[in-house]
Amino acid sequence: MTIQWDQYQATGCYDELMQEAGKPRAVADALTRYLASLNEGELRAVQTAAELSIKEQGITFTVYSDEGGSIDRAWPLDIIPRVMARAEWNRIEAGLKQRVQALNLFIDDIYHEQKIIKDGVFPKEILANSKNFRPQCVGVSPPLRIWAHICGSDLIRGNDGTVYVLEDNLRVPSGVSYMLENRQVIKRVLPDVFENHAILPVDDYPSQLFDTLASVSPRDAEYPEVVVLTPGIYNSAYFEHAYLAQQMGCELVEGRDLVVGEDDIVYMRTVDGLARVDVIYRRIDDTFLDPETFNPESTLGVPGLMRSWIKGNVALVNAPGAGVADDKVVYAYVPEMIRYYLDEDGIIPNVPTYLCTDTKSREHVLAHLDELVVKPANESGGYGMLVGPKSTAEEREQFAERISRDPRNYIAQPTITLSTVPSVVDSHVEPRHVDMRPFILSSDGIQVTMGGLTRVAMRKGSLVVNSSQGGGSKDTWIVEQGNA
């Protein structure tokens, strides 16, 4: 299965590595030549080594199965990396920083004066119907006025090469551990390529994350007690929770390990007795955080946690209520927000978005369901979507009804054919659609991961990249110009 680039066909979409059959992009020139130089046995050996490495390191994710149990699956990684030039990345990085800065200003404004509403830039009705707006957070000022300390923004590239932001995940974005592990594996199996490329490293993320978390500690201690709060081993991202806790040298706790004292301070139960907790990197949703404030049925959270947070005795990362900006309707306003708060134009464009609350847009959406992608405003993981061009008449009818019943909960976007990257399929290379999720850390400064997690739709022609729905992943290389 030697790779023959002159037979590689990525028709009708932008390919990240190949300009056309047989002609690689400048940035991927050395990589593609190297891959073509491997003979069948060598290529297979690389792939086997990658699979083995993933299995041995126990890099897994959990899939819920219909039978009720859950299964640990080996993380799917394709050996051919996605490559991007440093110059292009610099622009994207600046765009992401700008975006997250505006989003944090927006959230803080929404929970305080709501100037953006008073100035008529953001409609009041949207907020009134927002699922993730938390009245309990009104008036709270978290340290540094940062709400979304960790943001995962999904980027996609369309036919003409334009990179868009598809969505901003401000609640509990996951995937960063896989980005780090992918690099480890690829370094192991393609060491000679690293020698000939200036590939920028990604592995300081855990220490940057720890610094971000420590910077919002309410106590001025040199080593604040930072913990990672997980829903437990049955959560699909448990591997990542355990991984990040280990990499940062923090305790991995569950709700029942924590207790809020009468002094409104959070403690964890240890064999040495109660120990004060300063910062909680929580990987459970808002509504499960505190049964006293939110869902009283929640056994994952900690009674009194919100009390402690509101008093400023503990930092919650991301802050409760940050999800108000993680809503596909609010998303449509991000370019306005950037103009409003920063007086700048957005560097990375949004995907054009039709809001179904707007009568005219809604009529357009209903008339063009077969061309558009319809998404519920507050779902994640690719659930509950309609992909127009691939839908049946019956599905379209169902969505038409849902949209008419609850227009606030739906947006529609033109179907963008995601860019592709050559991927190993059976014994040859075929184009597969990808997206990319960089992670942005905000505290006293803003840091962006070098690249991000590239997710791949492993089924031919599919645009669904979520790992919960059969997606794979790739290592992502940001390379210095001139060395590629």
Partner: protein, 324 residues
């Protein structure tokens, strides 16, 4: 170390040990029955009594027929102390702390459960039983070995040992209790040969026979066997040894004063009793054993209160999985 993690390791230790002890018990009872005259045989009921499972057993089975008792003790998942249930609970506990337990140990725990489940039919059959139970015992020993040889000997390891040793001490008292109660006093001279055989079987169920011969250098008699099993300081399954090990482990943990006080009282009780006296009086012996078991219960409570803080271990899908 988080209390929840400590508690989970503790129960991992207890369940592994409980599975192993049950396997020993069944094997030796089977051997004993082959040696005794039919009219003297106590049958399989003592095993149900030893494991304190009379009530749950009677709900399911009308009699103490061999196949029923063995099926119940080996493979009944609804009975939380069956070998299969213990291995399953050990596995679930190990699973939740996979980042703390060395990988090989987790894999071996997982494999052992799968073995026990897949070979259950042969495990409850007369012919396949011995090999099956030996596999369980050796599997458990292997896991202990892996943990001791590869895990950091930190607080987590101490909790593992504490769980293991409390469980072991508990089983030793149970075995002594039931065997002694079912026996006739030494004086019935025509039954003497069988009396000895029974005590040999007691020792063998604890793999103590060889060590007993080395230490005591006398033929097996009730008082000496009792002395060896309760008071010996070197035999690793004797009650005194188990209590001392727990004491040493707690000594390496913070805040252990209350637990240590409970333990020294218990050790004093065990050491000061006169075995020849107790050997002659089944009622007294039973009371004595009872006090030791209550003492172990107090140690468990003290540990739980000091380190786990949760009122009682909970039996829920994702909690430290425990059943007393």
């Amino acid at each position: 170390m988080l209390s929840r993690v400590a508690e989970t390791i503790y129960w991992l230790g207890r369940y592994m040990e409980r599975a192993e002890n049950s396997a020993r018990l069944i094997n030796v009872n089977a051997n004993l029955l082959l040696d005794l005259p039919h009219d003297l045989t106590p049958g399989w009921q003592p095993l149900i009594a030893i494991t304190g499972s009379e009530d749950s057993y009677r709900v399911k089975y009308p009699d103490y027929e061999e196949h029923n008792v063995v099926s119940f003790l080996v493979g009944d998942l609804s009975y939380p102390n069956s070998i299969l249930a213990c291995l399953n609970l050990a596995r679930e506990n190990a699973r939740t702390i996979r980042d703390i337990v060395p990988r090989e140990a987790w894999e071996r725990v997982n494999e052992l459960f799968l073995y026990a489940e897949e070979n259950l039919d042969s495990g409850v059959s007369k012919r396949g039983r011995f090999a099956y139970l030996r596999e369980i015992i050796q599997g458990s020993q292997t896991i202990s070995g892996i943990l001791s040889g590869t895990m950091n000997h930190d607080a987590g390891y101490e909790f593992l040992c504490i769980g293991q040793m409390l469980e072991r001490g508990d089983m030793t008292t149970r075995i002594v209790d039931v065997r002694s109660a079912s026996l006739l006093p030494d004086t019935a001279s025509d039954l003497l040969p069988y009396e000895n055989i029974q005590w040999i079987s007691v020792l063998k169920s604890l793999t103590a026979y060889q060590m007993y011969r080395q230490k005591m250098q006398i033929r097996v008699r009730r008082a000496d066997a009792l002395k060896f099993l309760i008071q010996n300081e070197q035999f690793p399954r004797s009650f005194y040894f188990c209590a001392s090990s727990v004491e040493a482990s707690v000594g390496r943990l913070p805040r252990g004063d209350a637990v240590r006080r409970t333990l020294s009282r218990l050790k004093r009780n065990a050491k000061s009793a006169s075995m020849p006296e107790l050997a002659d009086d089944n009622v007294q012996l039973h009371d004595f054993i009872d006090r030791l078991q209550i003492g172990l219960g107090r140690v468990h409570e003290a540990i739980s209160n000091t380190y786990f803080l949760l009122p009682e271990p909970v039996l829920e899908q994702d909690g430290p999985i425990a059943a007393c």
